[in-house]
Amino acid sequence: MNEPTRIRLPLRIWAAVAALLLVAPTLVVIPLSFSDKRSFAFPIEGWSLQWYEKFFTDQRWLSSLGTSLWIALVVAVIATALGTLAALGLRGLRARLAATAQITMMLPILVPGIVAAIAIFGMYLRWGLSGSPLGLVLAHLALALPFVLIPVGTALRGLDETLVRAAAVLGAGPVARFVQVQLPILLPGIVTGFIFAFVTSLDEVVVAYFLQSPTVRTLPVQMYSSVTVETDPSIAAASTLLLVLSTLIILIPRLVQVVRERRAAKQLGDVA
């Protein structure tokens, strides 16, 4: 028992340091958002909620938050549906065609964001889509699709084809097979995909910056504009909110899993 502990302790310290380095810069915004000074100065001398008050009373911040949330939601819903269908469809294709189709759909995460943004902007100017909510939703959809395709595809690889056959021979038609067998087994992958799609759209700034208009301005774009023209600690409040929101959303599946495992463990305990 000694040996594992000896190895484990340095590993733990190492992991903690690495995690701290990754997360610390982000966490700095949290105390900053509670500062009573109109600056980003450390150390913080007095505490205040004024920047949150400003955030929630300023129409610019509120409306951009609203825009971000509804665009992210629409993108996540559509990307999840399309990505799941695409992953299912890819499995039905012949190997070479499937590989080509998959790479095509993954391109948005391989192409540098700024290149994609300029290309999309150029095409949208011609199509008259720039500055419209539809345009932004479509652009974010392309960016979010790979994040659904990957987890659903992975879940699908774990789905034994004979399960679908078993369901068929036991009397389940195509719809029942999908709803009662494939969907529940793929659900963790689909939920992961939905969350990543939502967060991808919520966080995205480059494309959203190019495609912005007075009516379509997402929170990251508003934050970026705010930080370039003024040093308004409202941005720290906005960052903190975005951080908390993203973290919560990403933690949801993990929390659900923990609750389920507890319940299952309790059931087992009852039986035994």
Binding site: A167, L170, G171
Partner: protein, 296 residues
């Protein structure tokens, strides 16, 4: 017990052919399965037995020929409308459902009301002695238990034909033998027709009423275990069923002449190279004592 005996279905396969590209996996299979019969498709892997079963289940559409069940042509009926029970080698229990929900699954597809569904599922689980694990998830059961659940799930809606695709292949020997006995008992109690696929010739001899021996996409011989053992129609069948010694030689004018001067009568065997099959238990070895005077 609510799982009652039903008359098993009659199955008729005529002229079944399945080609993949140019290669034929199954070449002209004719087979009649009587009501209540336990028929085994036996053969090495790649011999076409699984493809044949798959055409009966409806997963594979035959290139030629027909599948007729109880007089109704079902060749192109999709699997979910055939009403067959099936057990797979890898159990194929739905991992997200409990044992009871797994067994209820076929009843749910048939619109059976909730209360009746549960009662019938528990009865079917009792049949395989697993009703105490109804609330467990398949992942919490051993392989043998999972396969018994799969069997309960395949029987709960009282199908008249049960297909089994190497169902005990993944289990260890002791467990396999126990489940074979259990299956034998269930088959007798329920009167269901069973088509069973395996490559394990030992399994076949204990379970089957009749055996169809597959080789290279064709049926070499169909018969009872005794018939196949005592009167193999081809060399392949003789070698595949039971232990045997093979003596190579030649037939000339109704007589077989083999190595070491073995001579046997061979009526009805064409002249040419031949193999004599000797079952080891038919060979008796006696002490070579001195010749007795009375024997002259």
């Amino acid at each position: 017990m609510t799982v009652t005996a039903t008359a098993g279905a009659e199955l008729r396969l005529s002229g079944l052919v399945k080609r993949y590209g140019g290669a034929a996996a199954v070449q002209h299979v004719d087979l009649d399965v009587a009501s209540g019969e336990f028929l085994t498709l036996l053969g090495p892997s790649g011999s076409g037995k699984t493809t044949t079963l798959s055409m009966v289940a409806g997963f594979t559409t035959p290139s030629e020929g027909s599948v007729v069940c109880d007089g109704a042509e079902i060749t192109s009926v999709p699997p979910h409308k055939r009403g067959l029970g099936m057990v797979f080698q890898n159990y194929s229990l739905f991992p997200h459902l409990t044992v009871r929900e797994n067994v209820e699954f076929p009843l749910r597809q048939r619109g059976v009301p909730k209360a009746e569904r549960t009662a019938r599922a528990l009865a079917a689980l009792e049949l395989v002695e697993l009703h105490t694990r109804a609330q467990a998830k398949p992942g919490q059961l051993s392989g043998g238990q999972q396969q018994r659940v799969a069997l309960a799930r395949a029987l709960v809606f009282e199908p008249r034909l049960l297909l089994m695709d190497e169902p005990f292949g993944a289990l260890d020997r002791a467990l396999r033998e126990r489940l074979q006995l259990e299956l034998r008992r269930l088959h007798r109690e329920l009167g269901i027709t069973v088509v069973f696929v395996t490559h394990d010739q030992e399994e076949v001899l204990t379970l089957s009423d009749r055996i169809a021996v597959f080789n290279e996409g064709r049926i070499e011989q169909v018969g009872t275990p005794e018939e196949l053992y005592e009167h193999p129609a081809t060399l392949f069948v003789a070698r595949f069923i039971g232990e045997s010694n093979a003596v190579a030689g030649e037939t000339i004018g109704g007589e077989f002449v083999g190595a070491a001067g073995v001579r046997l009568t061979a009526h009805g065997v064409a002249d040419g190279p031949a193999v004599a099959i000797v079952r080891p238990e038919r060979v008796r070895v006696l002490p070579a004592g001195p010749r007795r005077p009375s024997a002259n």
